[in-house]
Each structure stands twice: as C-alpha cells, then as structure tokens.
C-alpha cells in the first residue's frame, strides 16, 4: 500500500513525443509572513512549478525584538523577564541557562533543592512544548482532532507551572543563586516560606500519569494512522552527515540517529541523579522527528517522578549581595532546550548588567537547513517538513 501510494508518479518532464514543448515560468509563492502554518511570521519565498518547489528562501526578522541589545541596558535580574520570552512555548527552560551562566561568572551555586525545582519545571516546560508540537504537527498534516486533545493535556502541565511560579508562559521564577518562593506564599522575610504549593507532589504525580496516558493515546491516534505514516515516513530525510554539517540540534539531530543530549553533560541541573533514556531515531525523516519528541515526553515524565521522590530539603537561595554585580569575565552555558541546543554567552565588564549577551537559539540554527531540505519537494511536503522542525518564531528572531 505504502509503495503504491508513494511510487514516483508521472515523470516530471514528460519525454513523450509531444511536438510542442510548453515552457512555463516558475510561480513565486510567498508563504507567509501571514500563513496558517508558518508558526508565526516566518516568510518563505518559494519558486514553485505546479506543486513542485524548485527553490525556497526563508526570510527572517519579522519578529525581531532586539533582546540581545536590550539586555545590555538591563540589570541581570531584569534579564530573566526577557529571556523567557524568547521561546514562549517553553518559557521556563530558557531562563535556566542564562541564570547558570551568570552564576558561573559569580562563582556561586544554587542549593540542591532549588536545582531540583529548576529541573522539574524545565522538564515540565519540555513536556508542554512537545504537547504543542504533537498537536500542531498533526494539524499541519491535516488531522484536526489531536490539537484539541494535546492542548487540554498541556493545560494540566501549565496549571502546575502556574501553581509554583505564578505564571503560565513567562514564569520569571529563577533568581541568581536560587529560585523564588512559591506564588502567594507571602513576603520573603517571613521565617517559614513555602517554596512549593500544598499538594504539589500529588498533583504532579497525577499529572504525569495523565501525560503517560496522553502519550499512549497520541501514539495510537496519530502514530498508528496509516495516512499519517504515508505522509511522514521517508519525507524530508536528514542524514546523519547533513544534520551534523548544518548544526541542527535537539530532537531533530537525535531523530537522525545521533545520540547527543546535553542534559547528560549539564552540571547546573542534577540530571546525573536520575535514570532516563535518550530516544534516537533511525531514518531522520519527519515521522522519526515526531516520534522522538513523543518518546521524550515519556522520559521527561519519568524524570519528574524520580525528582519528586528524591526532593532534598534545604534552603532555596544561596547568599547573594543585595545589588548583584558580576565580576569581569565571560562565560558560555549551553543546555538542552526542548527545541535543541540553547546557549547564552555572557560578557561582563563588572557592572550591573552584561556588556554583551549573545543568545544561541535552537530554532534559528535548525531552520538553516530548510532551503536544502525543501529543494525539489512538493508543496504539501514543505508544510510537513517545516512543521517537523518545530520552531518558534520568537526563538528564531529573538
């Protein structure tokens, strides 16, 4: 069945003895900036001949907000509010590397409990982000139901994040040297401050149970669907070599068969204490990229359950000066964001704010592979491939 449906159909240029050869110009099709499936305001200038794409040029910058420049005139604690807006689908995961880079410069370390809370919330952000991808990708392929189910499931995760941090998308929860007390727990001067809301452990366990169920259902509803398989298997293959050449990272790289996950190398989050697997794909096609993300949700849920069980007690915050000044120097911290490798390069001249902040975002590097991947593809495959890269425009343009 698959072979028949995907068989190279009518040869593209007919070699039959047609006496008149009609030469037609390629049509320029502007896909975006306003288009239902460009995840925001990405613009692709595609040259198409019928359904076939001869070349694609991504045009970026419609969402440029100048965060790197803004960071130069802000103090360090203020910058956390900026960085969680870079990739708003997984806001919390963006705060961590910046805080870690600053802490590295100041040569301080957050207490164990704070690290655990950071890790749990990072993994929750990963699950939320992958839920969005799973729903939206099915929508791009043409199935309408999964997005409704995925959004409902994601809501549970966002509720948990909100109960701890007070914000759903932009938690702004990290402080240099620790985390904030939980939302609504009163002024920090009180003696017994509450860091996690009451019932958080049980709620999280229930929610993770639901996540595992949802993953199973998604595997069944989307992954088990013949049409979905026909549309995604063997489409948009990124070979190992190509993936490494173009510097794609995260689930896309792992789908191509490279077992590379920065989580195992981080020292500022205690990932080494927990057991989890790194799902790896075989073919590097759209289906693998979808499937790797689905499996990652399961692993993240496992990590969260383990972290809840081994939560250490202790303070939330190490001692830091009232006015945070970072000594002269520079540091680069990279981490495994839900979408790939995210890094912050902080250069400090010893002031209240950084001299320069360079953000390496996963989406920007990942979509650099688009022109190569899309050449010679069909228009519906363009959407399938673009969707499988799972980028957020805020993450592309900053």
């Amino acid at each position: 069945m698959d072979e028949i449906l995907n068989a190279a159909s009518i040869p593209y240029v007919s070699e039959a003895s047609v006496s008149v050869e009609i030469e037609t110009e390629d049509m320029t099709l502007n896909i975006g900036p306003q288009h239902p499936s460009t995840h925001g305001v990405l613009r692709l200038v595609a040259k198409v001949d019928g359904e076939k794409i001869s070349s694609v040029e991504p045009v970026l910058g419609y969402m440029h907000r100048g965060y790197e420049k803004l960071a130069e005139v802000r103090t360090y604690p203020q910058i956390t509010t900026l960085v969680n807006r870079i990739d708003w689908v997984s806001g919390f995961a963006n705060e961590i590397p910046f805080i870690a880079a600053t802490e590295k410069l100041m040569e301080i370390e957050a207490p164990e409990r704070a690290k655990h809370i950071r890790l749990i919330l990072t993994e929750m952000a990963r699950i939320a982000s992958h839920f969005v991808f799973n729903g939206a990708y099915a929508l791009e392929i043409g199935a309408l139901t999964p997005i409704f189910l995925a959004m409902e499931d994601r809501e549970r995760i966002l509720d948990l994040i909100e109960s701890v941090t007070g914000g759903r998308f932009h938690p702004n929860f990290n402080r240099i040297g620790g985390v904030k007390p939980a939302a609504g727990s009163g002024p920090t001067t009180k003696k017994n401050i509450q860091d996690l809301p009451a019932g958080f452990y049980q709620d999280t366990r229930d929610a993770m149970e639901k996540v595992l169920e949802a993953v199973e259902r998604m595997e069944d509803l989307v992954g088990g669907n013949e049409v979905f398989k026909v549309r995604t298997k063997g489409v948009g293959i990124i070979s190992k070599e190509l993936a490494e050449e173009y510097g794609v990272s995260g689930p896309i790289l792992r789908a191509s068969g490279v077992k590379f996950d920065l989580r195992s190398q981080t020292d500022f989050l205690p990932y080494d204490k927990f057991e989890y697997e790194i799902p790896v794909g075989e073919n590097g096609d759209c289906y693998d990229r979808w499937y790797v993300r689905l499996l990652e949700m399961r692993e993240s849920a496992k990590i969260i359950l383990q972290a809840i069980d081994s939560m250490p007690s202790g303070p939330l915050q190490t001692k830091v000066p009232k006015v945070i000044k970072v000594p002269k120097g520079q540091s680069y911290v990279r981490t495994e964001n839900p979408k790939g490798e995210m890094g912050y390069y902080v250069i400090s001249e010893g002031g209240l704010g950084p001299y320069r902040l360079k953000v390496r975002t996963p989406s920007f590097s990942n979509i650099s592979i688009l022109p190569v991947l899309l050449e010679g593809q069909l228009l519906p495959d363009l959407i399938a491939i673009m969707g499988s890269l799972d980028f957020v425009l805020g993450d592309v343009d900053r």
Binding site: A143, F148, L149, V227
Partner: protein, 326 residues
C-alpha cells in the same frame, strides 16, 4: 407538455429534502467534532449545543461580502451559485419512497453521475477567478481530484447497474427488494467501499481535502470568499455530502426499503428509513473526517488510478461473470 404543478411539487420535494439534509449533516458534523475533540461549545452551550450551527450560519450573514478588486467579478460572484445548483440537481432522481421522487428517470444513474461532475467547473472557476495563487492551486487541485475520482465512482456504480439490469433508481431499489438482500450484502460490497471512498473525495472531505487544505493553501479555492458567498459553498458542501450518502444508501443499502415491514406502508416509513441509513453513512464520514490527516496530492492520484480504478474494473468483471453464470 410539462405539467406545471408537477414541476412545483418536484421543486418542493427537492428543496425540502436538500435543505433539511444540509442542516442535519451540519449538526451531525459539528456534534461529531465536539464529541471527539471535547469541545464544550457545540456540546453543551444552548440547548445541548443544537443551536450552535444556527449561530454559525447567522454569523455568515453578518459578515461583509467582500469582492476583491482584481477578481473576475462576474465569474467570482456566480461560481457559488453554480456549485449549489449542480448539487441541487442531484436531488431530483433520488427516491424518498416509491412515489415520493422528484422524477423517476429511466437513466437515473446516468443523470446522477453526469450532474455530479458539473460542480467541478464551479470549483475550478471559483479558484481561477479569485486572482489569488492559493485559490488557483486549490482550484486546479480540485479539478484534478474530481476528475480522478469521478471514474471509480462511475465504475463502482456500473457493477450495481449490471446486477440490477436497470438505471432507474427506483428500479434498483425494487430489484433489491425482489432479491431480498441489499446489494452491499449480495455481491457489491467492494463496489460500496469504492463508492464511499470516491464519494468522500468528491465531497473534498478529509482525508481528501487538499483543494481546501488550510495548512498549505490557506483555504484553497475558498480563500477569497466571505460572507454569504462562503456560506453558499458551505451549504453546498454539506448538501453534497448528504446526497451522496443518500445515493449510496439507495444503490447499496436498499434505500427506502425496510425488511419485514408491510410494503403498503412504505410511503410512511420509507423517508425515515432512507434518512436513517443516510445519517449512519454520514456518521462514518464524520468519524473519518475528525480522525484522519490528509493525503498528499500525488498519493491521492495514485490511490485513484492505481488502486481504486483497477479494483472497480475487477468488480465489474466479477459482477458480469456472476450475471452470466447465474
């Protein structure tokens, strides 16, 4: 001589049947979607969600009917009406009961298939006249798809015609009554399957909705339409869905006939029976729509030319042999 009153009665039947069918299928689709997707709106709001489709239709009347500057105005404006009219034409020959039928043509099946291919032209012109690249691609996709699936649709019906030895739709139902079993259970199961797949493609519903394909082509040939003109397309789509399901139940499921019920009461239970069968088929389409993604254009063409058409030819061959043998 055409009898004036006969024309009026026919028009009345067609209108009542068509419009009610569209309403029933709109409600069915919306309720099915909300049930599968846990949407609270159409499931719980206002009379258990039953006035939701009404609100949707009223919404279209409120909206401005925009005609963009560069469109081919006359064609752009008349295309929806053309599509609607061609769908209306289908209702004429479908028997609601042995006597309640717009017109029992001897070549009913032939008429049906001929008229059903007319809407292609409306869709193509709608896409062409919109002066929009997405519309144009949607229109061309629609034309390619409708032509490709017209064939298996016709060939599937040919099997039925051979078995029934008539092209009149009333005749086909009578033949099934005479035989004691609907055609789907007596040799035309494969044809029924092919017919339903091809009909889904004709309706441009998921998984064959590339002409609209909102993630690729924004909204395909409907992109530039708004307000009442969009509503007309919308109604035509549901009417088309309703009539094709009604035709399928007539051809394959015994139409208005219900076994074990007295034949002289058929004018009372006939319409209900036909409606029930139609709605059941529609429900399957709703389930398919809300659980499948869409095919790619070339996969869709491959499915038609390499799988469905050979299968339907095989079906004709088998039916002919069986006809000669028995």
């Amino acid at each position: 001589m055409i009898d004036g009153s006969q024309v009026l009665v026919t028009a009345g039947i067609v209108l009542a049947f068509a419009l009610n069918g569209a309403v029933i299928f709109t409600i069915l689709d919306v309720k099915g979607a909300s049930w599968m997707q846990r949407r609270p709106g159409p499931l719980h709001v206002g009379l258990r969600g039953f006035i939701f489709p009404l609100a949707e239709i009223i919404k279209f009347f409120q909206k401005e009917d925009i005609t963009p500057t560069n469109v081919d105005s006359a064609v752009f404006k008349w295309a929806p009406a053309y599509v609607l009219a061609s769908v209306f034409g289908l209702f004429v020959v479908v028997p609601i009961s042995p006597t309640l039928v717009g017109s029992d043509l001897d070549l009913g099946v032939f008429y049906l298939l001929a008229i059903s291919s007319l809407s292609t032209l409306g869709v193509l012109t709608a896409g062409w006249s919109s002066a929009n690249k997405y519309s144009l691609m949607g229109g061309i996709r629609a034309a390619g798809q409708l032509i490709a699936y017209e064939l298996p649709l016709i060939l599937a019906v040919v099997g039925v015609v051979i078995q029934a030895e008539t092209m009149s739709l009333v005749g086909i139902v009578e033949k099934q009554i005479e035989f004691g079993l609907p055609f789907v259970l007596s040799g035309q199961g494969l044809a029924f399957l092919i017919f339903m797949i091809a009909a889904t493609a004709e309706m441009m519903r998921v998984p064959f909705d590339m002409p609209i394909g909102e993630s690729e082509l924004v909204s395909g040939f409907l992109t530039e339409y708004s307000g009442v003109r969009f509503l007309i397309f919308y109604i035509a789509e549901y009417m088309n869905m309703f009539i094709l399901c009604a035709v399928a139940s007539t051809l394959f499921l015994g139409g208005y006939h219900v076994p074990l019920l007295p034949a002289e009461w058929v004018n009372f239970y006939g319409p209900v029976a036909l409606l029930t069968k139609t709605v059941l088929l529609g429900f399957i389409l709703v389930l398919v729509r809300w659980s499948f993604p869409r095919f790619r254009e070339d996969q869709l063409q491959n499915l038609a030319w390499k799988i469905l058409i050979p299968l339907s030819l095989l079906n004709i061959l088998i039916t002919s042999i069986m006809k000669v043998v028995f």
